[in-house]
Each structure stands twice: as structure tokens, then as C-alpha cells.
Symmetry: D3
């Protein structure tokens, strides 16, 4: 058993690594990594404390996932690889550091990333592209994130990373799940089409759930999952930077993740902003979503 | 674009008007108005801070509503008309001020009102009646609000406004949606019938959703919408004065509002009590509900 | 009317008994009882403040339950019987006191218990067994609670009470509802079978709701209901010691309770940990769940 | 010992009366009484929950006060007399009920009152005047509370009660302690003089502490103490309706109370607004201030 | 009277400008200005919401300051000039916008600035220097803020602005008040001397209060005041980004400000991070500190 | 430099050890150790999360303490030694584990302990006695903690540890600092004398500060410091189990610690209960108090 034994050492004891797993020594198949950067946000910051909170909120995770029939910590020899050393206030420097750091990770491991805000996903995708070529992207979010620029032409924010990734041709098929909320203009809808992004909005999730699952099963090739916690309703995930009411329940997003029968090569959960949490409900949900994806990876890797 | 441009001026900047819209100058078709009175409550006060919180919580709203296909701010030339000057501690004086103030508003504009507690709806309906004659009422709430008197014969509280409105013959058909929770006695059920109120309780919403939508579509003539935030479950809207567990989700109430194909002449969202909120989730929901109704009005007004 | 009259004395006034009911004098049929012990928890404590918070959170309850068509306070002559005098830090001494105290209660009354952590249910079941013989157990929870020992062989915790009850042959049929979350090992699944426990996990509740209701209706003989508040999702019940995301909604658990057409001889709601609550949403939910069960008891007792 | 024994029944158990004292039966010398009215406030409401919170926050009080050398609960046979049945939304009706209720109390007992907002002190002083004649008033507050009217001539609010009491000639000498914060105009200063009120402002407390104590010792005749919790700095008492920064510490106010060697015939602690508290620090402070005054009464009554 | 009249319109009503003052039209002598930028912080962000919170927290301010004998709103014709349009994530662009914006303000008005983090003070000093030449700086803080670079040579953060200002020769005499907390190395002490900064640490404030006041009175020429809210103890100001325990009380900092008999040409209160506040105690304190400085300016300007 | 470099790796990054120090490898002189046990409390639990919160709250500590002129991390080669594996619910088993674990620590290191509740100090003193003989005890607290038994003769709680230590003759001179609050009876005062405990109550600290410092300087031989965070006022340290209002400020307790010129062989900070904290102010204070004591140890050890 890789975790500290909860029957000997109560789960509120000892130093907080993800799920009380060991730190990495290089031979593991999957690693929890924090990218605590939040200067890409256009509303509420705080996601820089995401990795710290998700580690604290992961202490109740246990080895076996009965709904996926998987023991991800053991099967993937999972470890905690600490955080990327970001540069607060300097988004472009930070992006270089992330890309460099992740370029190492993707060679040997499946990174399970805790943000940070969504701007971190662009350099992660650059690293992934460099190491493994173009992957598909399944993007859980309430927002499109493919706006062009903000604030006088600024290209890098948590609302523009996807357009940059598409412009740079870093990804194959893109599926967005859970989109909702007001838009800047009706053109946002046509932009999705122009950009070739497949959109399942909140009504699709609520009313055509099975169809989404079937569509996603058709995906070939490596898949990267990027999950903005604001895809979940603020009742379940209040701790986020740009909340959108009327969202998914935690059960719905967990079931969607469990249904993925694709080749996942990496994932992130972003936009968890702990100053806005209460009683750790968002941090615990985020830790569980990482756990579900790890479980699915573990299951899918089995011969 | 009527809102301050979010691509130039980040949404956390500048003075808080509703959705960062301009203040009113008289020519607009719809106006956000605050009625910050809460001495009508029989349990938790605090709704006097509702308008302030809903303004702060409306900063993320964007111009285009994709689910309703509507740009309410531009189409209705929407503005923020400040607050009614209420008289704390003196409910009857306050009611006179509200009626007088709203009698002006209804002449030229569609008021989108943020309470305050539910007692404010009575003088609003008096003003509406005076200006436009009797309207239908769609009333979202967990409570009937047609009790007779409280505390030794007091006729004006947030639990008696609807009986007063019916006694004064201010409204036509009344539909209640979302009713639940324990009652003072079994006679409350028969009172609903005696008073001619059509009740869709929480089970109707959960199990006969489409039937409700069909019923409401049959409504002719002007419609006023009064939405007590406690119709939503406390998980989604903790900041309210008399919470009832086991309620609607935010998605359900939003979809109900979007489905309304009637002639809406005014609306209120009441009972948002910010001291009981966390991370603004209730205030943001309330702001979005006002936005959804504005979007529907805008859509329905189109030829 | 047994409650203090809310039309004369506002519901925020007077000393907090459950639902502002009178204290017990011995002739009542059902009693609210607090068991404020929480040294059985293996993660977050705080449930010792459960009875105090649930009393405060029960002030909005009214006499008539329209969904069950029942007036439990009057029909059961319900009262508040104070708390059991527990011994903080000494679980085995506390268990003896609980068993002794409840052995009195079960003789004449139906106890409606507010925990306290789940370890209190074992001595309650011992008392029930002693007074009324073996009853069936309907157990709402996200966790199995039938682990063997913790921390070097400790037999009494909130995660082991059910195994002890089964070993001691205190209960007949056991039904678990709402089980979810990661497990210590795959053997937990087979242990359920070995122990003869009938498990309806979260998927069963979400996807086979009616089947559960039908199964439970078949139960003969006395039934004890033990409800761990963590069966509900943390969005609806954040105030608990070992939260599991992805759970029931408050509406779902209320409907399940209302559907029970069995002979209920006692019940508990446990693991409400008020330091983790906000705006009393968990305490209010717990008070309502006790109210729903009281209503069902009252209905089912009618000839 | 009048309190429930904390060595047998832990202090988090049993129904919340003040300090876990018995309810009154008529023969006691001093009684805790709640007056949960808050429609007199001109900013944040919530003080209606003051008595409930102060009862919960008084559980840690023990029988002996070493700084005053007094056992107030036993010496005064102190009890909890419940709450006055106020009328939410109707300040003048409520004032009549308070006056009537307190007119009974003052005959036989020393009332130790938990507000409610400061408007309740006027009817209390009316009752005191009626029963015992004119008393002196020691008024701890950051605000003068002798403004004339608000909101178009309204005479009864939490900011006007003292002018009314002076106009009605209900009190003898008036001492104000802790006054600070911005004023409506420079005339407020001269009004204090015109009204004959002796003012010790915050600087007097911080820099001339002993002089205040000496002055107060000179008071002859019965004394009523009215303590607005906002006399204390918001760091120590965040839960209040119109906070003023730069105030007293909790130690300073406690020492001032302990130094009073006068004939106290009643007291109130008002403006505790629990929705704005955290971890009960304000409620606990308020409970302790009542305890200090009870201790002083007990000491001063000794021959 | 410039503020909305609180005797007609309760202070919780109407749109939130600072102290409910009018927006600026160009002829005023002093203006409240928000600079909601927080990407300069090296620990907790959130100060971008400072101006919004300080406006909300300023509603209780009244026209007359009795301790300074001043009516700053009227005497200075004070107004609210909105916020500078910052560029989240891009500190150097933001600094240019601030400098440009403030260069206008300093020509005609005394700006009273609400941050934002402390990095905003550098461009403010640049603007001040450009318009009025070198001023003295009185800097209230727990930290020196003259470190050289962070994170691989980054020159602009909230911990380096003072060194930049000194390097650029923007200020005359610099006095620091309230310095405390652990340091990066002993050289920080000698750096203060090398840089010519006069330091009054926390012990100087606590033990040599009057000496500080006398020293500051000697300052000739224009003075700019920069007040980091973390100079106050976290008990009084929890809402800040890099709290240091063991700090000033709110009374102490207010008295220090009131004692300033110098020619103040501008001021800022920075590092108020509302996500970390409770019941607005920090925001209210910040609003009062701005009010105290405005009062002092008003008094000092009198002939 | 032993800490992770804050100029390269921002202080919100990387896994939480105390002050981001390395874990222990055996050769260090001082170690941070967590003892997360809280079943000894008689009111609010939660201190089991103390070590986790204090680690998170220690991230802002820097290497040099200017008020003590000391670099404790380097001079003591300080490290983080994880937590003792406690046994929730079983106080006597836990005490054995603590004694055993600490018996190792005291041989080679100076342990700087984060509780946990105050019951942990008894086994720590047993270990200290065993390894180093009898030490003096400086005990900061608002409570005496020398009561005999609770709840029917229970000898081990957080209110009885000191009597046990005295009965077992584990300590030499005992000094208590900060004592205040109501007592169970007047005999508590004489018990202090009988037990030979030197008491400096809150008035001694406030009014005879220097005398205390002089007295403590006379202490010869090894000294153990046990600091219950409730010695500080709840305004500065709300997160504790049995708060007493009217306490020390954070500055006062820090100055008392800095003044200690004695041979400190170990210390603990106990009773930090994070569920009751806000914005980490208590956790940060506790981390700083450990840092101050480490600084003093480092200074005093210098030749």
C-alpha cells in the first residue's frame, strides 16, 4: 500500500502530500503536480492556493474505487511531485517554466495536475505536444475560454488559452462539456464552429447525457482532460474564480469521468480558489475528481 | 454596448451598478431597482442588503444570453435606477413609499426589482394595478405567503402579502411554483383552494415539470413574476430568511424562467439575505435570475 | 398545539428546545434526545455540538406535514428529553451511559435521536434489542461502517459500530442506502455480502429509486433508522466529519424517508458537525429529516 | 450549585439556558431575560438572534468570579426567564410589550437583559421608572444615541432612545463611556451638553481611565447599566450592527465594569448581531459582560 | 451636505460610492480613487476587490470628525472618481496606466487611493514626482518593502516598490512606522540604513509613541502617506495578503494619523484583501483610515 | 539556508512542512513535531487539525528574527519531524504513544510541539522527566488546568494534566501566566497555593509586566514552556476550544516570550482548533510563537 496506513496513522496526521502518497523518485507512472499560478484570472484570484488545499482535501481518499473497480495509487505507483515554481505577476515567464517542467513529466509519467487558473493549460498542452504529439482535448468548463485578447490586446489569460492552443495547432479534436452562462456576443457561438470545437452545453448534459458518453467513446488517440471546477454548480464548488450558476452536480461530473473509455495521457483540475471555499467542499471535490480520473486511467491501462 | 466594456475595464473595477450598466435617465425600457426593506420578516433579517449584494454579484453578467437568444441590456436599454428610500422599522410608511415610487416606474419601464423581503411585493402590486390594471401573478416560493395575520393581528409581513393582494383584488390568476415545507395546519391546503390560487408544489416541479410549463403558457394578459429565492434549495441559495430544505436546483429554476412565453410587465427577486451568504453564491444566482427574466422579456417583446 | 405558538411568539424567541416543544414529563409517545458524543470520529470532530445546533435549526418547523399528511408533534405528543450525559474522551464509558439511558426511553417512547457521531448507534441498538428484541435496520450513509478495528485494534469507532452490532446479533435485516466513495480494499464489497448486508449504493438511488422503495416496503417487524448526514452531498450538508462528494440531494433523501411504510421504533440522525456548517443549512436539514421520520411514524401508527 | 454540574454533564450538553441555569419560578433575585427585537436598527439587523446566541455562548461560565470575589449565580439565585414576545416590524407595539413585561420583572428581580437592538432600552427605562423611580444611567457605547428623529420624523430607533428617555425624564445623571466615531455634525457635541449628558469618549478611556472610575464611584442612588456591544472594538466584537473601529478592548470594558461600586438595579447588553459573529467571540464576550455585572451586583449587595 | 442624507435615505440604500459621495466632475479638491490591482503580491491575492469592499464598508461614515474637528467631505468637496483600469496579469502595463491616470489627478486634486496591493504605490509616486516634485513619504507597514528582486530578477512586486522609488529618486525623507516580523536576513537592517530610511518599528510605536509623533511633525514640504493595512494586527485587519501578528491596534494607527501636522498631498491604503475579511471589519477600518487622513488634510489646509 | 528559497519558489508553493523546512534526518538540534490529539477537550474539539494548520500558517516565516537577533532555523538546524501517531478516542493509549515517541526526541533534540489539546503535555513532561530529569515549567494559559477529575472520576483531560504532573512529581517550579476567567469555586485559588504553583494572572500581565519578566529570569535549570493559545484574547486567537475573553494581545505574549533568558529544553503550543479559525489568524500566530521560542532558544544557546 502506497498511502500512509490510515488504520495506524489517522488521516488527519502527518505532512500533507496528495492522498498521503510518497513524493516522487522517478519510477512512478503517474504523479500529482501542483501549478499554483493565478495571475491569469480576470475576476477572483486565489487559485494559487489550489494545490495546497487539494492536498489537504485529499486525506480521506482510500485505495480502492468501487465504481471504476480500480486501485489507482498502487496500479499507477502514484506519487506527489510537488509544485512548479511559478513567477507571480509574470504570466509569460511562468508559462515558460511550466512548459519546461512538464516536458520532463510527460516523458515518463502521466501528470495529474492541480491548478492554478486555466491559463496554465496552454503551456501544459505545449509540453504534451512536444513530447507526445497532438492529443485530443476533453474540456469540462462553463466557459468557452477561446476569446482572443483582453485588456488592450493581452493574449494570455484564463479566458484565451484554448484559442492560443488551437492557433498553435497543439490539439486534435476538442470537446467541451458543461458550457453555460451569458456570453460576450452571439458570435461566440459561431466562433465555436469556426474553431472546430465540439460543444456539449449544460442542456446537453442534463437532457442528452448518454449521447455525450457515446460520442466521447469514439475518440481515438491520446486524450488530455482539462477540467475547470466551475463546470460544477457553485453549490457544490463555491471556491472558484468566475462562478456560473445553474451547473452540473458533483455526481454528474463524476459519472461523466467514470464513463471515459479513452487513452488519457494527462489531466488537470483548475480554478479551485480556496479563499472562497467553506469546509473544504470544493477542495475535496477536486481531489476526488483527480482520483476518479486516476482510477479510469488505471482501469483503461489494464490489458 | 451599454455595460462598461469588460475587455477594457476588468469586471472587478468601477462603481457597482447592476451589471455595470448606466444609471437611468428616463428613456430606458427596463430598470433594475432595489427595495432594501426587511422589517417584514418573521425569522432572519438581512434582506435590506440584498440590492447591494446583487449589484456586486452581477458583475460577471455578459450581454448575450445564448439559451434565450437575447441581448437584454441592449434590447431593453436597461439601466440601474437606484433604491427606493425605505423607512426601517415602519412597514406601513415604507409600503406607501414603495407604491408611490413604483407607480412612476410602471408608467414607462419594466421594473426588475431586487428585495428586500417579500412584504415589498404588495405595494409593488398596488402600483402595478394602479398603472396597468390587474395582472396575473407567477409566484415562485417555498411558502404560500397567504397567511392572514401574525403577532396579535399584524396584517403586513412577508407571510401575508399575498392574502392582502387577493383581498384587495390586485391580481388575476395566481400560480405558485415550488411550494414545500411544513405548514401551520391542514387548512392551509384548503385555503389555497378557497383563495383560487393554483399551486404547483415541489413534487410537481420534480415530477411534472413539462405540465407546469404548458399550463403557464396559457396565461393571457400581463404577468408579474415574484420570485422568493427560498424556492431554491439552501445548498444553492443559503442566504435567505426562512430557508426550506429539499428545494429546486438553480438549473431547474432557470429553465422554468426561460420557458415563460408570456407578457411580463415586471418582476422581483426577494428574500436574498447577504449576511447568510458565502462567496456570493446566492447573490450571483439572484443576479442571474433577474438576467434570465430580462432576457425572456426581451425575447418575448420581439415582433 | 404543543409548540410555542409562532403567531404570538416569533420563532426566534424563547429557549431552544426541539421545534420549541415542551420538555418531557413521561407520558409522551416520542421524544427528541441528544447524544452529543464525538470521540468516535476518525477525521473531523464537532458532532458533540449536533444536538445544540439541531435544536436551534428546528425553530422553523411547523405542525403539519403536507407531503405525509401528518401532524407528528400532536399525534405523537412529542417532547424534548434533553441530552444523554456523555463522557468526553472515554468511548466505552459513554456507550454504557447511552445504553442505560436509552433502555429507559425505548420502554415508553419512540426516541428520535440527534448525534453525536455514528459510534452512538451501537449502544442505542443494544438498548433497543434489550427492550424490544431484534429490529431491522435501515442505514442511510455514504460509508459501510462495518470495518473491524482501527489504530491498533480499537473496536469502537464511528466506522466499526455496524460490525459490532452484527457480531452481537442485535439486528435483523440490514439495508444500506447511499453508499459511495473510495474504499480501503475490494474486500469491503465481499464483506458486505458475508455480513448479509443489503447495499443500495448511490447509483442504485440515482438510477433505481423505485426499486429501493419497493424493497424496503417488504420489511416486516420493527425497524430502526440510522441516518448519517453524510449520505447527503456536502453541498447540502457541509457540516459533517467525513464528507463524501457525489451524494444524494436533500429532496431525494426526504422522499425516501416519506416513502417508508414500515413500523419505525426509533431513529437517529448522526454526524452533524456544526463547526463546519454555514448559515445552519446542515442543522436545518437534520431537523427536517427528524421531522419527516416523525411524520411517517405518526402516519404509519394510525389505524 | 444552581448550574447544571459541569463535572457530570459536559458543558456542550443539555438545553441552552443562560449559563445552564434553571428557568425562573418567581423567587429569584436576578434573571436573565432576552428581548430579541431588532427593527430599530438603521444599518445591519440580526440582533433578534442575540438572546439565542448569548445563551449558547454562556455555557463556559463557571460559578466563581475571582476578580470580583463573587458567586453571582448562587448569591443572586439567578435564573433564565425566557424572552419577551416582541412584534417584528412594529416597534411601537413591541415597546408596549417590553414595558409591560419588564414592569413585572423590576418589582421582584434585577433583570439582566440581552438585546435586541438599543431601541429596547427606552421601554425598559420606562418600566424601571414606573417601578423604582428615576435611576442614574451608565451608558457604554460608541454612539451618542440621542439623535432626534430619522427617516421623515420617526421618533423610535436605536439612535434616538436616549433623547426620548431624557425628554420623558426617565433618568437622573447620564454617563456615556467609549464614545467615538464620526458624527452627523458638530452640533452633536453641544447637544450632549444641552442634554446634560456626561461624556467620556474613547480618548478618556484610553488616557484617563482612573478618572472615569473615580467619577462613577460618586454616583448615588440606583443605577441602570446599558451596554452597547459596539463600545468594544470590532476585532473583539465583530457581531454588531453599526461597528465603529478604534474601540475598547474586551479587557478594558471588563475592568471598567468590575470597578463599579454602585447600586445596580438592572442592565442590558444590546446590539449583538450573531449573523456577523465568527466562532461566537462576540456572543461569548456578551455573556461574560452580563456575568461581570451580575458578579458586581452580588458583591455590592453584600452587607 | 455632499453625502446622500442618511436621515432620509438609510445608509444601506443606493449605489455604493465612497461614503455615498457624488462622483467627480472636476472641481473637487480631493477624490477617492480605486486601483484594484493585485498581481504584485507574493502570497495571498484578493486586493483587487479592495476598492469595491472599501466603498461598501464606508457607508457608515458621517460628515463630522470630532477628534480632528473637521468636516472633510464638505471642506474638500470630496468625490468618488472610480477606479483605474488596470491590466490583470501584466504588472508593467498596469503601472503605466496608473502613472498616467494619477498624473491627471495630482494636478487638481488630492487623491485618496484604495488599493490594490502595494506595488501600485510606485507608479503613484512617479506621477506625484512628475506633477509636484519630490515629496516626503510616511510609510505605515509591517514590512520594509525595499527588497531588490523576486523570482529570478523580477523588479516589480509589492515587496520591491520602495527600493525602486528610492533608486529612481522619487521621494525625499522616508519614515517607516510599525515594522515587525521575521526578515530574510540581518542585512535587511543595514539596508534600511544604507537606503536612508528612518524606521520606527513596532516596539517604537508601543513604547515611544510620543517620540514618533514629534519626529514626524518636523517634516517639511509635501508628504505622501502610504498605509499598508498589515501594519495593523490581523485581529483588527484579517483581510490582508501577508499578515504579521503582533501589530498595531486600530486605535493606535488612528491616533498616529490624527497627530500628523504636515502637508499631505496624497495617500493610499493598500493590501486590503476582502476574500479574507469577516463582517467587513477590515474594509470598515480601511474606510475609516482614509476618512481620518481626509480629516487631517482638511484641518491642516485651514488658514 | 534551510528553508526552500522564497525568492525562487513562492511561499504558497510546495508541500507544507513547518516553515518549508526539510524533514528530519536525525542530526538536527530542534524539530517541529505535531501531536494531533483532541479527545481530551471538555468543550470544542478540532485541535487534532492544529499541526496541519500551523504548518500551512508558517509559510510566511523568514530566517532572521530581528527582535531576538537570531536565525533559529540555521542555528538550530531545525527540521519537521511529522506527527505522533495518536489513537483517536483512546486517551490513555495515546498518552503512551506520545511518551514513547517524545522519549526519543528529547535525547537528541529540542522538540517544538504543535498540539493537539493540552492533555498531550502530561506525556511530554513524562518523557522529558525520564530523559532529562525534572524541569521547571512556564505555563501560559487562561486556565489553571489543575482540576482533579471530570465526568465521574476521569483523570485525564485537558483540564487535569497539570495536577497529574504535580502528583507524579514531574516538574520543578511552575509559573502560570495569563490566568483569568470564571472558576469552579473559590477553592481553586487556594489549590494553586497548596500545589505550589506561582500564578501571574491577567492583571499581573497587564499591570506588572516587568515584574513577571524579572521573576522568570531567576529560574535556574532546564525550562519547559507550555503555551495554551487561549492565553491570548479570542480576538487574536479565535480558533481554540475553551476561549476566555479579556486576554493578552499577540504583541504582549510575543514580548513575554522574547524576554525569556532561561534554558529552554522544549515547548508546546496547544489548543489551536482550526475549524474555529478565520483567515488563518490563529494558525499564523501559533506558528509565530513557535518561531519566537525557537529564536530565543537559539539566542540563549550562544556562548
Amino acid at each position: 500500500m502506497r498511502q500512509i496506513n490510515a488504520f495506524e496513522s489517522p488521516r488527519f496526521t502527518q505532512i500533507s502530500t496528495f492522498a498521503r502518497l510518497p513524493t516522487c523518485n522517478g519510477k512512478e507512472k503517474a504523479a500529482f503536480i501542483g501549478i499554483p499560478f493565478d495571475d491569469g484570472v480576470v475576476y477572483r484570484p486565489g487559485a494559487r492556493f489550489g494545490p495546497m488545499a487539494i492536498r489537504d482535501g485529499s486525506r480521506l481518499l482510500r485505495p480502492y474505487n468501487p465504481f471504476v473497480d480500480s486501485e489507482p495509487f498502487d496500479e499507477l505507483m502514484m506519487c506527489d511531485d510537488g509544485d512548479v515554481n511559478v513567477v507571480p505577476g509574470y504570466i509569460e515567464d511562468t508559462m515558460r517554466r511550466i512548459e519546461e517542467h512538464l516536458s520532463q513529466e510527460f516523458v515518463n509519467k502521466i501528470p495529474l495536475i492541480a491548478g492554478g487558473d486555466h491559463s496554465i493549460t496552454l503551456p501544459v498542452l505545449r509540453a504534451l505536444h512536444k513530447v507526445k504529439g497532438k492529443a485530443n482535448l476533453i474540456h469540462f468548463d462553463s466557459h468557452y475560454d477561446f476569446w482572443d485578447t483582453y485588456f488592450g490586446g493581452k493574449k494570455y489569460t484564463h479566458g484565451t488559452w484554448l484559442r492560443r492552443a488551437l492557433e498553435e495547432d497543439r490539439v486534435n479534436n476538442v470537446y467541451q462539456i458543461g458550457i453555460r452562462g451569458s456570453l460576450f456576443s452571439k458570435e461566440d457561438l459561431s466562433d465555436a464552429k469556426k474553431l472546430g470545437v465540439h460543444v456539449f452545453n449544460i442542456r446537453d448534459v442534463k437532457y442528452n447525457y448518454n449521447k455525450i458518453i457515446q460520442e466521447l467513446r469514439k475518440l481515438n488517440g491520446p486524450v488530455y482532460i482539462s477540467l475547470d471546477i466551475d463546470v460544477v454548480d457553485p453549490a457544490f464548488a463555491p471556491a472558484t474564480g468566475t462562478p456560473e450558476v445553474g451547473g452540473l452536480t458533483s455526481f454528474e461530473v463524476m459519472e461523466l469521468l467514470r464513463s471515459l473509455e479513452v487513452n488519457i495521457v494527462g489531466m488537470d483540475v483548475v480554478e479551485v480558489s480556496p479563499p472562497y471555499d467553506h469546509s473544504e467542499i470544493t477542495a475535496m471535490l477536486a481531489a476526488n475528481l483527480i482520483y476518479e480520473v486516476a482510477s479510469v486511467i488505471s482501469r483503461n491501462l489494464r490489458p
